[in-house]
Amino acid sequence: MPGEIAFGVIVVLTLGAALAAVLSRNLLRSALALMFCLLGVAGLFLMQGAEFLSAVQLLVYVGGIAVLIVFAVALLERAGEPLAASLNKLVPAAVAVGAALTMLLVVGLWRSVIAESPPASPGVKDIGTALLNQYLVPFEALSVLLLAALVGALLIARDTGKEG
């Protein structure tokens, strides 16, 4: 019973925050809502026994990506970007496609019979072992990707000095 309540609360938080993130006219509120939504997803991870992943989600997504976005919004907004009129003309089509996609997925899930097996929640050690053995090459490739992204982002965003 407490599990159900927790699940319900987290789901409501997640989806509500997601909606708020998408619908809010104010970008900073969107970013904050994104943060809550990601927190909710971290909660869903936790509820499925993926502790480590939950922590990583918080650490990287919420503590890193969300901060970046909030940061960016604060800086961009400071430059006088009007935040009004946040939705474009594609709204009806977007609603239709989003809803259709969701409906199809949900219906598909509903119809399919998923055979549950005894849950296995791998611990931190298992994940670490997998990362440094089975998935070593993708792991290293990922680190190279991150480095490249870092350098590339610096290069792209660098002020060439012509404008303030």
Binding site: L90, A93, A94, V97, G98, L101, L104
Partner: protein, 619 residues
Amino acid sequence: MVTEAPASALGYLWLVPAAPFAAFLVIGLLTRKWRLLSAAISILAMGLSFMFALGAFFSQLRLGILPRIAQFSWFDTGTLHAPAGLLLDPLSAVMLVVVTTVGLLVQIYSLGYMAGEKGLSRYYAYMSLFCASMLGLVLSGNFLQLFVFWELVGLCSYLLIGFWYDRDAPAFAAKKAFVTTRLGDLGFLVGVVMLVTQAGSFDFAEVARKMSVEAWDPKWTGFAALLLFCGAIGKSAQIPLHVWLPDAMEGPTPVSALIHAATMVAAGVFMVARLFVFFSASPDTLAMVAQVGAVTAFFAATIALVQDDLKRVLAYSTISQLGYMMLALGVGSVTAGMFHLWTHAFFKALLFLCAGAVIHAVRTNDMREMGGLGKSMPWTAATFAIGALALAGIFPLSGFFSKEMIITAAGAKSGFLATLALATAACTGFYAGRAFFLTFLGSSRSKAAPHETPWVMRWPLVILAGLSVCAGWWSGGFGAFVFFGAPEESSLHFLSSFFAMLPALAGLGFAWMVYVNGSPSPDRLARTFAPIYTLLKRRYFVDEGYNWLIDRVVMGFSRALAWFDRNVVDGAVNGVAWLARSGGAVLRILQTGQVQHYAMAVFGGVVLLILLARLAGAG
């Protein structure tokens, strides 16, 4: 070509064409900027090639006449077998020596002649490619390879004739050479295709075997051979496709030497000798070859009588000598034809290089502005004299032996041909003497101060002069080495031979009278025989005839075609283009440039795909 020696005996023969080709690649890709390095690479490669060619020649001499073949299957389409590889027999061995010797000497000579030239690297790259193509041609054992190298030789002569492409005359001359030989090559290609498709193989030996086994119709084979001969007419500048060769004088003189002595024009003669088995199938074809050769020899020699340009005299003399070779082949003596090619290579290279030295010294081609150069250029004069005497066929120089062989062979077949050959010999004597006397004797008419050539140019002359003297003494052994059918005995009978030398001596003597003694004077002669003189001076109006033909007939037809092309063909193409463009103009409305529209399309597409999959799954 029935029995073969083991292929492994060929050893490093592949290096002979490969070394100059590698030099071409290295120069073209790497050392363009360092001109002297390029020259050194080219000469070194040629030297290497020369060594291996000599090795191949002597090993072949030891082995006798057995051909050695190293071939692998290049591709095989089932109905058509194309091998690739090397073929070494006496014929190619002789050619190897000729090409590498002349090529090496010419390249060394060029060091002096082309000194200070800006495009020296380009020059040596082309030279290397030229030699490599010719060597590849010589070593070809099948039609495909032969054709490829045949065309490469044509390409290289185009590049080298047009070496000074920034001037009009060389550029036109190069184009003319290319287009004219292309006319002959068309026939050659058709001939090759006829033979190859009939036999189902590119291999010479295989085609020849099929021909004898399946007993092809001699008329048909003869026709194919005639088409092959078209190629030779173009390459070896026989009438009526001889017009490119005199114009090719616009290239650098060492290039002329190479083209005339060893590479380009020799290719035609060599090809006929190589494929002689097909020519011999039909007596009519052979007769045709002989007639073309004899007529070419005579007409070219008469034109050479009156030319003022030193290089043109030599050019027409080349055409004439090539006519001799064709005549020899036409009367069935491969030995005579190839032997004349062998001796001619040395003395004609020598003459051209001497001419180059003279031109280098006096900065003009016109013999009327030379004269008296014998004093200031004794080496050149002496070597030129040797070359001229060899050309005239004076005993005991090399030209005597080969020409003798040809006249004997022609005399055995037809009196008319022999007469024509003797008349040509007289003309040869006259123009050879005329060239020497006008250039080196008498008083100086030159504006420049002539000087002896530097040693890099002098030594090739001396070596070639030596070869011009000695090359003919091998006449006895040559007949037992290079022949078609049965070995030919040396047919030198002293009495008749010296009788055959008489016309040449007479021509020389007449030249002496006219140009040294001055009685009768050249001008009087020209006035006396004015119509003939003009006819010869204008080279029988062949070029004019071609121009008229092209201007009126071909161009008129072309204009009609051009109209059709512009209005009908282009109209269709433009219509298609218009359709595509207006279609694009409509379609590009879809490309809004808005990322989100594209994203929308992607997600919509996903939805559609899922729906489709569901429907298909349900159905």
